[in-house]
C-alpha cells in the first residue's frame, strides 16, 4: 500500500538534503500566511507559488489532481451557497435568490486559499516517508502519545488493509457480487464486523508482545535528523517570503 505521494525515482532528492523539520515548519508558516491574506491577486500568487513548488519537487500532476478533486467535491456546496448567503451589492439574480459580489469574492478567496494550502502540504509533507514524518514530529516535541498513535497507524494500516483484501477476495471467490440489496448490506456488515474483531485480537497480541519486551509506556525513537546551515538558510528565505506577502497585503 502506497502511503506517500511520490515515487522513489522522482525528483524528491531535491528536498532530501533538508531536515524534515524544516518542511514541517515551512508548511505551517506558509499555511498561516495564506490564511491571513485577503486580496485575490496575492492569493493567486500564493497558489502559483504552491503549484511551482509541487512541480519543482516532482509531484505527479494526475495524482495531485485526483487528491484535489476529493477536496473540491467537499467544498462545492459551500461555493454554491456563499454568493447567495452573503449580503451585499447584487451581481445577478436567480429567481428569488440574489447573488452578491461580496459573496462571490468570499467564495473565490476560500477556493484559492484551500487549494494553495493543500497543494503545498502535499508537496512538502505528503512526500515525506510517514515514519520520517513521525520522527520529525517527535523531534519537534509534540506529545508522545500523539506520535505513538501516528506511528502505530502507519505500522498497522497496511496489515489491516491486507486483511480486508483477503476477506474481500474470499467473498469474490464464492461468487459474491455487490448489489443494492439486503444480502449485500448484510455481507458488508459482516465484513466490517470481522475486520473489527480481527483488529481487536491483533491489538491484544501486539500488547502481549510489547509486555514480553518490558513495555513501560514509552517508545524509544532513535534521533536521525540533523539541522544544518542550509536548513537555517531555507527557513530564513521562507520567513522573508511570507513577511513580504503579509507586507504587501497591508500596503496594497
Amino acid at each position: 500500500m502506497q502511503l506517500t505521494l511520490i515515487e522513489k525515482e522522482s525528483r524528491n532528492d531535491r528536498l532530501r538534503q533538508f531536515d524534515p523539520r524544516l518542511r514541517l515548519i515551512t508548511a505551517l508558516l506558509f499555511a498561516m500566511t495564506v490564511v491571513s491574506l485577503h486580496l485575490i491577486p496575492l492569493l493567486l500568487l500564493t497558489l502559483l507559488l504552491a503549484l511551482g513548488m509541487a512541480w519543482w519537487i516532482g509531484l505527479s500532476g494526475s495524482l495531485l489532481l485526483k487528491r484535489l478533486l476529493v477536496m473540491e467535491g467537499f467544498m462545492i456546496v459551500l461555493l454554491v451557497m456563499l454568493p447567495f448567503s452573503v449580503p451585499g451589492e447584487s451581481l445577478f439574480t436567480l429567481g428569488p435568490f440574489n447573488a452578491s459580489i461580496e459573496g462571490v469574492q468570499r467564495a473565490l478567496q476560500i477556493v484559492l486559499r484551500a487549494n494553495a494550502i493543500v497543494i503545498l502540504l502535499m508537496a512538502l509533507i505528503g512526500t515525506l516517508e510517514p515514519v520520517v514524518l513521525g520522527h520529525a514530529l517527535g523531534q519537534l516535541r509534540l506529545p508522545d502519545k500523539l506520535i505513538h498513535l501516528f506511528l502505530f497507524t502507519v505500522r498497522y494500516i497496511g496489515v489491516l488493509f491486507d486483511e480486508y483484501r483477503r476477506l474481500r477476495l474470499a467473498m469474490r471467490a464464492r461468487a459474491f457480487v455487490a448489489g443494492s440489496n439486503r444480502h449485500t448490506w448484510r455481507t458488508f456488515g459482516w465484513l466490517v464486523g470481522m475486520l473489527l474483531v480481527r483488529s481487536l485480537e491483533r491489538s491484544e497480541r501486539i500488547l502481549a508482545a510489547m509486555k514480553c519486551r518490558g513495555f513501560n509506556g514509552r517508545l524509544y525513537l532513535v534521533k536521525q535528523n540533523i539541522w544544518s546551515r542550509y536548513d537555517t538558510l531555507a527557513l530564513l528565505l521562507s520567513l522573508s517570503l511570507s513577511g513580504t506577502l503579509l507586507l504587501l497585503e497591508q500596503t496594497l
Binding site: V154, G158, R205, A209, K211, C212, G214, L219
Partner: protein, 258 residues
C-alpha cells in the same frame, strides 16, 4: 542436574466450560531444547504464554529463574529472561524502524541509549542483519521480519527462548538460515513446531499435549535402508549435477520419527 530454569507444577488453565490444559507439569533445564508438539488448538501457544505470565493459570504453580512467580510484577522479570518469539512477526515488530525495534527491549531493561544501540548492533551483526538497521519494519518480507523478530528477542539477552512455530511460512532458504542460527545459540529453548526437519535437527527432548495434558514424547530414530524417490524441481536445461537416465543413486540415511 542443574536447577530448572522454568518449572510448571500441576497447571490448570481454561475458560468457563472450556478447559484447555489440566494437570500440566513441565521443567526446562539449561541447555535443553524442547520440542512442544500437539494438534491444532491443543494449547501449545497458551502453554508458552503461561510460562511468561500472559495468562493466569486457574490452578498450579509457576517457578521461574530461582523463585515462584505469581503477580504481573514477578513476571516482568521472567519476560526479560525468557524471550517469547510470536507466531506472527507482524505482532512482534511494532516500532517504525528495525533498529528502534531491536533497542526497544534493552531500553526497557534500563540500558542507556548508547549501550542499547551497541547491543542492538551486535545482535544484528551476529545474525548477519546489520544492513537492515535503518529499514522500515512494515516494508520487510516475511522471512526478514522473522529474523528481525528473533533479533529483538535476543537483544534482551535472555537465558531461555520460547518460540511459537519459528519456521512457519518461511521458504526453504530462509528456514535453513534461521535453523543454522538457532543451532548456534547457547540458550535453552522450548519451541512449538509442526516442522519435522526443525524438530529432528534442534530438539534434545520432545513433549506432547494430548487431551489437555502434557506427556513426555519418545524421540528415536531408526536407520533403514531403502530406495525411494524425492521430488526434485529445477529449471529445465540447467545442469543440476545429476543424470536423468533412470538409474537409482546411492542413498542411505536415518529417518527420525517425531
Amino acid at each position: 542436574m542443574n536447577e530448572a530454569l522454568i518449572t510448571l507444577q500441576d497447571i490448570n488453565f481454561g475458560y468457563p466450560n472450556h478447559p484447555v490444559l489440566s494437570g500440566v507439569s513441565f521443567h526446562l533445564h539449561p541447555g535443553e531444547r524442547v520440542a512442544l508438539l500437539g494438534e491444532n488448538g491443543a494449547g501449545k501457544t497458551t502453554l508458552l504464554q503461561l510460562m511468561v505470565g500472559l495468562h493466569n493459570p486457574t490452578r498450579g504453580r509457576i517457578h521461574a529463574f530461582g523463585r515462584e512467580r505469581r503477580s504481573e510484577q514477578d513476571f516482568r522479570e521472567v519476560r526479560a529472561k525468557a524471550g517469547l518469539l510470536f507466531q506472527d512477526a507482524d505482532d512482534q515488530l511494532f516500532c517504525p524502524t528495525v533498529l528502534e525495534d531491536v533497542i526497544f527491549g534493552p531500553r526497557n531493561l534500563g540500558k542507556p541509549e548508547s549501550e542499547a544501540k551497541a547491543i542492538a548492533e551486535q545482535v544484528l551483526s551476529s545474525l548477519g542483519l546489520s544492513r537492515y538497521a535503518d529499514r522500515i519494519t512494515h516494508k520487510l518480507s516475511g522471512g526478514e521480519k522473522r529474523m528481525i523478530s528473533l533479533a529483538t528477542v535476543l537483544a534482551m539477552q535472555p537465558q531461555a527462548l520460547l518460540m511459537d512455530e519459528p519456521t512457519n511460512g518461511l521458504d526453504e532458504k530462509a528456514e535453513q538460515r534461521l535453523l543454522e542460527h538457532l543451532e548456534s545459540l547457547p540458550q535453552a529453548m522450548v519451541f512449538v513446531s509442526h516442522d519435522r526437519k526443525l524438530v529432528e535437527r534442534l530438539a534434545t527432548r520432545a513433549v506432547m499435549i494430548q487431551d489437555g495434558t502434557l506427556i513426555e514424547g519418545l524421540m528415536h530414530s531408526h536407520p533403514h535402508v531403502h530406495t525411494h524417490s524425492h521430488l526434485h524441481i529445477h529449471a529445465a536445461g540447467i545442469d543440476a549435477g545429476h543424470d536423468h537416465d533412470g538409474s537409482i543413486p546411492e542413498h542411505q540415511h536415518a529417518h527420525g520419527e517425531g
